[in-house]
């Protein structure tokens, strides 16, 4: 067992860990010793072959990490870069009203604004040029506007996008400005040490206990031998994501931890629904996401965004089986797609726990009746958009047999019902886990202070979406980076 010494060890390489590494880069150049540990392999962009069967290896549990009640499957990246190489690139700043609702001292709209501007510049977040907007997006905008909805253009973190599509299977051209492409290489140039396939089992004051795992074929080989490893560090920053960070802290059995550790876990439960258009849509071509609608955010806690999925995931999302399911799938190239995202309430009961013995995160999340109502309303609104765009059939799982035909389009509210949202049959998905190490000032109701310092453990910091005290309402990537930027501020002060 080796025992190198570092000033800072960062656990996890997604939006949080990558941001911390980049902020520390100038100090690394001056001699600060920093290691970044990532449980997953290191792949470069040439690994991404756009085949969904092969690319399941990029995700924890093959991209279907289930909660025990089977109502939700989490999709979380497991590679250098965390989820940032496999998300679509949607870049939202935290809405001002949500920031105020969070009510975290010092975390203000004014504090965040310059961070968002700088970070957006760093990752090239901007609206897509017209030539990148595909037919699914054009039809969505036309359909939504015909329904009286206001469509808003998304900002996407790409530079030189070639429109290869398949963004959720890794960007084949490297245009997506993930931490794999931007922050980590930049920090490595300064001298950051990256240890991939390095799974952390436990942290304690001054020490990280981990194990180096086998490097899969096609990934970057390990520089360290496989086996147990123990690193000493003055400061440890855990950025393993909202599923893994609370579990790692729980498995570490640290003294005097807040009773809220792992609690107030939210996920943005989502459903992807489809409609078939008379014309070929080919939503897998070019860039899959350009627009969203937030008209139902305040009334029903749900956003509508454009989406795209490959045939296997699309087949899974469409209700039914057998000959009828096959008939629906034959129209794959004609399919429009919309994803519905519910911003769910943060409750004490929903939590991430650590499985005794192994430390495996267990997502003890129960889909609430309120979330089901939101997702049902989202299906109704999506169905209206599809029909207004010209679709002949719409596939939403809370309709009878999961389908509405055009001649039924005036009966959407009666056909798509809460009663037809049958748990076990309909499984929502999530790519936005949040909470579990919420910020606050008091250890009785929060895990970290407003700068990510774990209460009572000044050597331990958290920098990822687990800091969120409640749902961010919007895709959390940029908010994670901004909060991590604040964590870096305090860390740099403490290192001095």
């Amino acid at each position: 067992m080796s025992s190198p010494e570092y000033d800072v060890v960062i656990v996890g390489s997604g939006a949080g860990g990558g941001t911390i590494a980049k902020r520390l880069a100038p100090l690394i150049e001056k001699g600060l010793r920093v290691a970044l540990l990532e449980s997953g392999p290191r792949y470069d962009r040439t690994y991404f072959n756009q085949r969904e069967a092969d690319m399941q290896s990029l995700f924890w549990e093959g991209g279907a990490w289930l909660n025990p009640e089977g109502t939700l499957q989490m999709v979380a990246g497991r590679m250098l870069g965390g989820s940032t190489p496999v998300y679509t690139g949607v870049t939202f700043k935290l809405p001002d009203d949500v920031c105020r609702e969070w009510n975290v001292p010092t975390l203000t709209v004014e504090d965040l604004a310059p961070r968002f501007s700088r970070l957006k510049e760093e990752v090239g977040a901007a609206e897509l040029p017209p030539e990148r907007i595909n037919k699914n997006n054009e039809l969505f905008a036309a359909g939504a506007e015909a329904c009286g909805m206001k469509t808003i253009k998304l900002e996407i973190n790409v530079r030189g996008c070639k429109g290869y599509g398949f963004c959720n299977l890794g960007c084949a051209s490297g245009a997506k400005q993930s931490t794999l492409e931007v922050q980590i290489p930049s920090a490595e140039e300064a001298g950051l040490e990256v240890i991939h396939n390095c799974h952390v089992r436990r942290v304690e004051d001054g020490r990280v206990h981990a194990e180096v795992l086998r490097a899969p074929e096609g990934s970057t080989p390990n520089e360290r031998p496989e086996g147990k490893i123990s690193l000493s560090a003055r400061f440890i920053v855990v950025s393993a994501g909202a599923c893994s960070t609370p579990a790692l802290l729980a498995a570490s059995q640290l003294p005097n931890m807040s009773p809220t550790l792992g609690r107030f876990f939210t996920v943005h439960p989502s459903l992807t629904v489809n409609g078939t258009h008379p014309e070929i849509v080919d939503s897998h071509l070019n860039f899959p996401k350009a627009y969203y609608v937030d008209d139902f955010s305040k009334s029903h806690d749900v956003y509508l965004e454009t989406a795209f999925y490959y045939p296997g995931v699309t087949a899974k999302n469409i209700d039914g089986f057998g000959v009828e399911h096959l008939r629906r799938m034959k129209k794959y190239r004609h399919m429009m797609a919309i994803i519905l995202l519910n911003h769910d309430a943060a409750t004490y009961e929903n939590r991430v726990a650590a499985e005794p013995g192994t430390g495996r995160p267990v997502l003890e999340y129960q889909l609430s009746e309120a979330s089901i109502r939101s997702l049902v309303q989202g299906q109704r609104e999506a169905a209206r958009v599809f029909f207004a765009a010209g679709c002949t059939e719409v596939y939403v799982p809370s309709a009878p047999d999961g389908m509405i035909t055009r001649d039924q389009k005036d009966d959407i509210d009666q056909l798509v019902t809460v009663e037809r949202y049958q748990k076990g049959r309909i499984i929502s998905s999530s790519a936005h886990p949040q909470g579990g190490c919420r910020m606050g000032t008091d250890a009785s109701d929060s895990v970290c202070d407003p700068y990510g310092v774990v209460h009572g453990q000044p050597w331990l910091r958290v920098a990822d979406a687990s800091l969120f005290p409640k749902s961010s309402h919007v895709n959390p990537y940029l908010t994670v980076m901004a909060l991590s930027d604040r964590v870096a501020d305090r860390l740099i002060d403490d290192l001095a």
Binding site: Q50, R51, A172, L326, R333, G424
Partner: protein, 138 residues
């Protein structure tokens, strides 16, 4: 190989109803997919296949693969929408595996007129290690 001989027999009969166009290759793809899941998930899938294999015996005096396609379909509809949450979960979970195995593989793409990947890169079949199944106690 994750599926036992009996499980393979069951899955073929399941596939014939759920994805009628699937061929024998899909069984192998599904097997690989299941074998990449954490051990606890594999155990639940095996348990579901065991129960779904023998349950028809109490009504039709035959195990699932011995039923006609029509009876298999009727039985699966009961599992899919019936009152028992665990059966629903098992059915829709195994259905996901079958659909991902079929539509995720290029054998099905011609039927959809789907061109597949834009980039020409080699297959990637080596699965990463699940750290929680591989390592001992933390």
């Amino acid at each position: 190989m994750s599926f036992s001989e009996r499980q393979t027999h069951f899955f073929r009969a399941f596939l014939e109803v759920v994805v009628p166009e699937a061929n024998e290759d899909v069984v192998g793809v599904a097997d690989r997919m299941v074998s990449s899941k954490p051990a606890a998930i594999q155990k639940k899938m095996r348990l579901f296949m065991f129960v779904a294999n023998i349950l028809p015996f109490f009504r039709f005096f035959r195990t699932f693969p011995s039923l006609s396609v029509q009876k298999r379909e009727r039985f699966l509809r009961w599992l899919a929408t019936g009152p028992v949450g665990l059966f629903r979960l098992g059915f829709w979970g195994l259905r996901s595996v079958a659909l991902l195995a079929f539509y995720g593989d290029e054998g099905s793409w011609k039927g959809l007129e789907y061109g597949g990947p834009i980039v020409d890169r080699p297959r990637r079949l080596d699965l990463p290690v699940d750290p929680y199944d591989t390592l001992g106690d933390a």
